[in-house]
Structures are given as C-alpha cells and as structure tokens.
Symmetry: C2
Subunit: 107 residues, 2 copies
C-alpha cells in the first residue's frame, strides 16, 4: 500500500550526509567540527544539515557563536518504525513465496 513516502530515507541516501548523521550518533557536534571530519567545505556540511533537519532527523541548538547539532530521537524513531514495517513486509513476502517461488503472479 506504498504510495510513496519520503519519510527521510532520501536524507540518508547520500554517503557524505549519512556519514554526518552517523557522526552525530556518537555525540552532538558543532558545524565546524563536523566539517573537519570530512573532505568537504563547511557550507556543504551546513546544507547537508539542513536536509537532515528538514527530514526531522537532527535538531540544532545555539551555543554562543557556535551551533550544535544532535540527532532528533523523535524523527529517528519515526523513520525506524517506517523501515521496520518495510523489513517485516519483505521477510513475510519471502516466507510466503518460499514454496510458490515457481509461479509468479502475472498482471
């Protein structure tokens, strides 16, 4: 019953952006600190963070002149739940087709 959901899997599609998110799963970090971890410019990191934030996967907080980003547990839980549904459907589809693997349904 897909329809197409955008929930945030797109946000993790880019390797650099995924790596930035993964760095935030270690601890909250400022933008400049993140930029030092990857071979991209600081503005590029800012743009990736914007995508992650729009997807609800991270949130930010002002700390003096710096801006600290951290994972947003709410968005993370939501994405996890959506994906868990997909994985469950996938595995149940496999079990269901395990024996009828011989006859594909046609349209």
């Amino acid at each position: 019953m897909g329809a197409y959901l955008q929930f945030g899997c797109e946000a993790l599609g880019d390797p650099t952006r995924f790596a930035i998110f993964e760095a935030l799963t270690e601890r909250p970090r400022a933008v400049g600190e993140l930029a030092g971890l990857f071979p991209v410019s600081r503005p590029a990191v800012s743009q990736h963070l914007k995508v992650l934030k729009d997807a609800g996967l991270v949130k930010d907080r002002k700390a003096g002149t710096r801006r600290v980003y951290a994972v947003d547990p709410e968005g993370v839980a939501r994405l996890r739940k959506e994906l868990d549904r997909v994985w469950t459907d996938a595995l149940s589809a496999f079990k269901r087709a395990a024996e009828t693997w011989e006859e594909p349904h046609n349209a």
Copy 2:
C-alpha cells in the same frame, strides 16, 4: 564508528527505486509487471532492479521468457541490522546528551 558504509541505504534513496522494492515486499513480480505499476519505462525498472540486486536487497530468477524478482531476505536482514545499530547509537547519544541539551547552565 563510521567509516562510511554503502550497505544499501543508497539503494533506497530514490523514490522510484524504493517504490519498486516496496512492490516486491508484497509479492515477487516480473519486470514487465513492475514497469506497469510506475510511470517509468521498462528499461528504467531494469536499471533500478540492477541497483537493488547489487545491493543484495533483491534476487532474480528466470521463469520462461520472463524474469521474476523477489526480496532477498539475507540482504534485507543485513541492512536492517546495520540500520538498527545506527538507530541504537542515535538514541543512546540522545540520552547521553539529554541533560546538557535542555538548559545551558547560566554563567
């Protein structure tokens, strides 16, 4: 601890490709059948299926003149496990930073 993994999250980054994968979580389908479900050409579907197959998320089987694709439970389980680690890290990072996040101690 990162390094950057490619495990297959990229494969689900594209909406069309994700929808194709989701269609396979319902039941195994032939290429032509999948192409009938989305407003893209059949070769486009073939290319998406190649990406999904290279990521280990689907497998294929010849059935006469048709080729039937189905979810690969092994690759699905692997991706699920990897992502579960990420989600776990994310939530534990949140709990660890929960106290220092809300109210910065005024000084």
